[in-house]
């Protein structure tokens, strides 16, 4: 059931963007900016790359995805709903009391969520543990982990990176959602993050730099990662925070802000017209 048609994948990604706006608008809470920047990555993974079956969300042999930047749950929930893990109607209860769709992903509440996340910096360690376990069990699973670029301020990311290299985890593919912005501003201004490629290269990763909104390029990058042996891969996905909504793009203010009715309507009109594609 892998979709290979680029336009079909772009259409799914566009639906995912609409869902994100809907979720955050209905909740009047959530993180649209970073959710919109990782939409294309998630769409390619769930619809083109990963060995998964929504009918068997806990299948032992499945590939796993950890959204380490857990605040971008609207994107993950939206992709999972599109993939058929649960009914799309549930999205409008995002962040509301009684909903399974908690502010940050909960693996025990939402089918398809492979790891609970939210406290930044922790997902990559869990991914390393999964990749190790898959090798120990000879399960043949690939482990994907989406990390935010602001998130790599956390020291634990570098601890995990060392172990990924030491254990030659070629079944681990880390995707850095490199949208250049974190809550308080530009990543290089906050903690002096620059030369991200050089940093991870020196930690032993196979590095692939890619336009994180180009479906075709993303597919190629994931395929290259699959063929890489003896070391983990990091795909540095150059992305745009708020991608797809003109007034949200590259705006730090849309990190964790919900649109009002007027903004919501404008966003949905833009997505209907696919202005950004």
């Amino acid at each position: 059931m892998k979709i290979t048609d680029i336009e079909a994948l772009e259409n799914i990604a566009n639906e995912v963007r609409k869902n994100i706006i809907e979720e955050v608008y209905q909740a009047q809470s959530g993180h649209p900016g970073g959710s919109l920047s990782c939409v294309d990555i998630l769409t390619v993974l769930y619809f083109n790359q990963m060995n998964i079956n929504p009918e068997k969300p806990r299948d032992e042999g499945r590939d796993r995805l950890i959204l380490s930047k857990g605040h971008c749950s609207p994107a993950l929930y939206s992709v999972l709903a599109e993939k058929g893990y649960f009914a799309k109607e549930k999205l409008k209860n995002f962040r509301k009391l009684g909903s399974e769709l908690q502010g940050h992903p909960d693996m025990n509440k939402v089918p398809g969520v492979d790891m609970t996340s939210g406290s930044l910096g922790q997902g990559l360690s869990v991914a390393v543990g999964m990749a190790l376990a898959s090798k120990m069990n000879r399960a043949g699973c690939r482990i994907y982990c989406i990390v935010g670029d602001g998130e790599i301020d956390e020291g634990q990311i570098w601890e995990a990176s060392m172990m990924a290299y030491k254990n030659k985890l070629d079944n681990l593919c880390v995707i850095l959602d490199n949208n250049q912005l974190q809550l308080d501003g530009r990543i290089e201004d906050i903690a002096g993050l620059d030369n991200i490629r050089g940093k991870f290269e020196s930690f032993g990763f196979k590095i692939i730099e890619v336009d994180g909104h180009n479906i075709s390029n993303l597919i190629d990058a994931f395929n290259t990662a699959k063929q890489t042996k003896g070391k983990p891969t990091m795909i540095i996905a150059k992305t745009i925070k708020g991608k797809g909504i003109s007034f949200m793009e590259n705006q730090v203010g849309w990190h964790g802000t919900a649109p009002n009715q007027e903004q919501y309507e404008k966003a949905m009109e833009e997505l209907a017209r696919k202005d950004y594609v």
């Binding site: 032992e60 796993r64 909960d106 693996m107 025990n108 492979d114 790891m115 609970t116 939210g118 406290s119 910096g121 922790q122 997902g123 990559l124 360690s125 869990v126 991914a127 390393v128 543990g129 999964m130 990749a131 190790l132 376990a133 898959s134 120990m136 069990n137 399960a139 020291g155 634990q156 601890e159 995990a160 060392m162 172990m163």
Partner: protein, 310 residues
């Protein structure tokens, strides 16, 4: 109790873990560059393919253990109690306790009985920190036999467990035939003058105190609480009803540990006066373990004094 034969619970842990490894191939062990001190080296030697040394990176260790657990592994994670529950608290909270990950955190070198290393390495808040986490079960074992039972027992439970272990060699209290039950305290004697409730290294101190008091004509009972959470409410309430006073004694802060847990039970179920012996809202210090037990008034002599004062 054999006072001459002493063994530290960290040693019992290491031995039991190596044994468990032969019976359960899902058991994997993680350590943060302290395997010769935590005694996980005993496991590592026998099962190098199931031992992961992450280096001095406790936060990462917790996360890796979680990942392993999602594939059906049963990770035992070890380092000193201060680094396990202090440095990696958020990882334990958000990646282990909240998602109910099947990870066993077995931390050694708890309490002032670490000795000469001093305050930075003497963890006095671990029971408090772990007890407050939803989904977390908390144990603190008192001797070799009980520790070996616990190491196996927690492998059969699904979900997070914190097991507190110590560096100081302490007497072997139980014999091989002793039956233990998770969540059930063990009562020694049925004296009615006082109940001394202890856990971990202080259980043998309480038993020594019981002997001394007996010679003075004072009849006390001792309760070994190896499971701090869920705590055995029944035995605590029963002893409160049957004895004149309750004294708790622990090598841990009096805030949040055994003493607090006992008070919480009694305040709601059967209010009585409780005296808490433990570290009284201060950090530890360097010294010999036995000297420190006395300095912080949690040894047999101090217990006798408190009971005698009335």
């Amino acid at each position: 109790m054999d006072l001459d034969k002493k063994i530290a619970t960290r040693q019992s842990y290491g031995e039991a873990l190596a044994e468990l490894g032969s019976r359960n191939e899902n058991v994997v062990v993680l350590d943060a560059d302290l395997s010769s001190a935590t005694k996980t080296a005993l496991f590592a030697k026998r099962y190098p393919e199931r031992f992961i040394n992450v280096g001095i990176a406790e936060q990462n260790m917790m996360g890796i253990a979680v990942g392993l657990s999602t594939f059906g592994k049963i990770p035992y994670v070890s380092t000193f109690a201060v680094f396990a529950t202090g440095r990696a608290y958020d990882q334990i909270r958000n990646s282990i306790a909240y998602p109910k990950s099947n990870v066993k955190i077995c931390a050694t070198h708890a309490g002032v009985t670490v000795g000469e290393d001093g305050a930075t390495h003497q963890m006095l808040e671990d029971l408090s920190l772990m007890r407050t986490l939803p989904n977390m079960k908390v144990m603190c074992t008192s001797d070799d036999i009980q520790t070996k039972w616990a190491v196996e027992e927690i492998s059969k439970m699904n979900g997070p467990v914190y097991l507190r272990l110590c560096r100081l060699a302490t007497p072997i209290i139980y014999d091989e035939k002793q039956k233990f039950e998770f969540g059930k305290g063990i009562q020694f004697g049925d004296g009615t003058d006082a109940t001394i409730i202890a856990t971990g290294v202080t259980v043998s101190e309480a038993l020594k105190a019981q002997e001394i008091l007996k010679k003075q004509g004072v009849q006390v009972r001792v309760v070994d609480i190896h499971t701090i959470k869920p705590i055995d409410e029944d035995i605590i309430v029963k002893c409160a009803k049957e004895t004149k006073k309750i004294i708790t004694v622990e090598d841990h802060s009096i805030i949040g540990g055994l003493g607090s847990a006992v008070c919480e039970v009694l305040a709601e179920k059967y209010p009585v006066n409780v005296q808490r012996l433990g570290i009284k809202d201060t950090f530890g210090k360097s010294g010999k373990a036995q000297e420190l037990l006395n300095y912080f008034k949690i040894d047999a002599e101090s217990i006798v004094e408190v009971v005698s004062k009335g």
